[in-house]
C-alpha cells in the first residue's frame, strides 16, 4: 500500500471562454498514493458538490493513455511530471506531502478555454480534415506482405501513428506551434505506399490549415518532443519540412 499524501491543489477556474479566470486553492487531505490524478480530481469534485460548490471541469475519457482526451498542465509540464505518460497515467505517489500542485489548462491561442481546465481542441480535428487521410477507398484489409514495406519504414510510420492528438506539443511549445502533431500525422501516411501518392498535397493542406488556425512557427526548441506522452520524435518535423519544401519547389 502506498502511503497517503496531503497537498495543496492550486487549480485554474474559469466560468467560460470570455470570463476572467483565477486560481482556486483547495487543500487535499490524505489522498492514497495509488489514486490516479484524474481519480483525485473526481474525489475533490465530489467534495465540492457535497459542499454545494461547482465541480472542476476537465477533459477525460479512456483513462488508459490512448484516447488523447485528458490534458492538464501540471506543475509546469503538460501531462504532469512523468515522461511518456498521459495525465490519466499519473499517480498521486509522484507528489510529496506538503507540495503545491498547480493545474492549468493548455494555454495556446489555438486551444481556447471552454471552462476551467477544458479547452477546445477542435483545431486538431480541422487540421486532420484538411488532409490527414487517404482519399481513395482502399477496400478491405490487404493480405499481409501483399505490399512489401521494409521493417524500419513500417516502424517509423507506426511510431508516428502513436500520436494521440492530445495537444501537449502545442501546449509545451513557447511558440504555440502544432508542428509535432502535424508532422506525425503527415509522416504516418507519407512513409507508406498508400499515403505517399497524396503526400505533397497533404503536407501543403495540413500546414496551411495549421497556420490559418493561429498556431505558431516552429523554432526547433524540442520542448514538444520532451513533453509528448507518446515520445513522438522531432525527426518527423524534419520530414514535414522536407515534404513541404519539395512540394513548394515542384509547384
Amino acid at each position: 500500500m502506498d502511503k497517503n499524501i496531503s497537498f495543496t491543489l492550486k487549480v485554474w477556474r474559469q466560468r467560460g471562454p470570455k470570463e476572467k479566470g483565477h486560481f482556486q486553492t483547495i487543500p487535499v487531505k490524505d489522498m492514497p498514493g495509488d489514486t490516479s490524478f484524474l481519480e483525485m480530481l473526481d474525489i475533490v469534485n465530489e467534495e465540492l458538490i457535497n459542499k454545494g460548490e461547482e465541480p472542476i471541469v476537465f477533459d477525460h475519457d479512456c483513462r488508459e493513455g490512448i484516447c488523447g482526451m485528458c490534458s492538464l498542465y501540471i506543475n509546469g509540464h503538460p501531462h504532469g511530471p512523468a515522461t511518456g505518460a498521459t495525465t490519466c497515467q499519473i499517480y498521486i505517489r509522484r507528489f510529496n506531502d506538503g507540495d503545491v500542485v498547480t493545474v492549468e489548462p493548455w494555454r495556446s491561442a489555438g486551444f481556447p478555454v471552454i471552462r476551467d481546465l477544458m479547452v477546445d481542441r477542435g483545431a486538431y480535428d480541422k487540421i486532420m480534415q484538411a488532409g490527414g487521410y487517404v482519399s481513395v477507398n482502399t477496400g478491405g484489409i490487404p493480405d499481409a506482405n501483399a505490399i512489401p514495406i521494409p521493417k524500419p519504414i513500417a516502424d517509423e510510420a507506426m511510431d508516428a501513428a502513436a500520436c494521440i492528438g492530445c495537444g501537449a506539443c502545442a501546449a509545451a511549445c513557447k511558440n504555440g506551434s502544432a508542428m509535432l502533431f502535424v508532422s506525425a500525422k503527415v509522416s504516418q501516411l507519407a512513409l507508406l505506399p498508400q499515403g505517399k501518392v497524396e503526400a505533397a498535397r497533404r503536407a501543403k493542406a495540413m500546414l496551411a490549415k495549421m497556420d490559418e488556425l493561429g498556431f505558431g512557427n516552429c523554432t526547433n526548441t524540442r520542448a514538444c518532443e520532451a513533453e509528448c506522452p507518446k515520445c513522438i520524435s522531432i525527426s518527423n518535423i524534419a520530414r514535414l519540412n522536407r515534404e513541404f519544401i519539395a512540394a513548394k519547389l515542384a509547384d
Binding site: 515522461t83 495556446s108 489555438g110 509545451a172 523554432t219 519544401i245
Partner: protein, 227 residues
C-alpha cells in the same frame, strides 16, 4: 509567396539567411587570423576588400541578409507570442533536452546586433565608409582606411572594447550552437541519426569560428600585437 505566407517558408528564410551568415563568419574569421601571422598580409586583404565594386556589392548583399534575418526574427517572434494566447502559464518548467539557447534566440540575436553596431563603429566606419565617401568626392581622411592592423591594435588595446567583444562572441556562440542544426532541420535535412551528428558538427564548428575571432582579440589585447 510561400516564403512569407507559410510557417515553414518563413523558417526557410531564417534558415538560408542564417546559413549564409555562418559562411560569411567563417571567411571573416579566416581573414582575421591572418592579422596574427602577418600585419602586412592582413592589410593587403583590407586593401583588396576596400571600396572596390565587388567588395561593395558583397557588402550590400551581406547587409541585405542581415536585415532579412532580423526582420523575419521579429516577425516570427510576434506571431509566436500571439500564438501563445493571452494567458501565460503560472508555473513553467524547462523540459529535459531543451537547450537554453533555443528558447532565447531573439535575446541572443539582439546582443549580436548590438555587438555588430559597435563593430561597425569601430572598424567599418573607419575603413570602408571613409573610402566610399572619398570616392563620392567628400573630404575625408583616408590615410588609414586600408591599415586594418592599426585599427585592430587601436581597438583592442582598450580593455573595455576587448571585453565587450568577448561578451559579444559568447552570445554569438550560443546563437550559432542552436542556429546551425536548427537551420538544417528546417530545410528538412535531418533524421534520428543525423540529428546528433548535426548537433555535434554545429557545436564544433561554432566553437572553432568563435575561438578564431576571440584569439585575435586576446592577442591584440594581451600582447599588444607584438609578442
Amino acid at each position: 509567396m510561400w516564403l512569407s505566407n507559410s510557417s515553414i517558408g518563413r523558417k526557410v528564410v531564417m534558415s538560408v539567411t542564417g546559413l549564409a551568415l555562418i559562411l560569411f563568419l567563417t571567411f571573416h574569421m579566416a581573414m582575421n587570423l591572418v592579422a596574427i601571422f602577418s600585419g602586412d598580409a592582413y592589410n593587403m586583404i583590407c586593401e583588396f576588400l576596400g571600396a572596390n565594386w565587388y567588395a561593395l556589392v558583397a557588402t550590400a548583399g551581406l547587409a541585405a541578409l542581415v536585415v532579412i534575418h532580423i526582420v523575419y526574427a521579429f516577425w516570427l517572434t510576434m506571431q509566436n507570442r500571439a500564438a501563445r494566447g493571452s494567458e501565460r502559464y503560472a508555473v513553467s518548467a524547462k523540459p529535459k533536452g531543451v537547450e537554453w539557447a533555443s528558447q532565447n534566440m531573439l535575446v541572443l540575436g539582439i546582443i549580436v546586433v548590438l555587438g555588430l553596431a559597435l563593430h561597425l563603429f569601430n572598424f567599418w566606419a573607419k575603413m570602408q565608409l571613409p573610402e566610399v565617401l572619398h570616392m563620392l568626392g567628400m573630404h575625408v581622411d583616408t590615410t588609414n582606411v586600408a591599415n586594418g592592423v592599426y585599427h585592430i591594435a587601436n581597438t583592442f588595446s582598450c580593455p573595455v572594447y576587448s571585453i565587450l567583444y568577448l561578451v559579444w562572441l559568447v552570445a554569438l556562440w550560443f546563437h550559432l550552437t542552436h542556429g546551425f542544426w536548427s537551420a538544417l532541420h528546417t530545410l528538412g535535412w535531418n533524421n534520428k541519426i543525423w540529428f546528433e551528428r548535426w548537433r555535434m558538427i554545429g557545436n564544433i564548428y561554432s566553437t572553432i569560428v568563435v575561438l578564431g575571432f576571440a584569439v585575435v582579440v586576446l592577442y591584440y589585447w594581451l600582447c599588444g600585437g607584438a609578442c
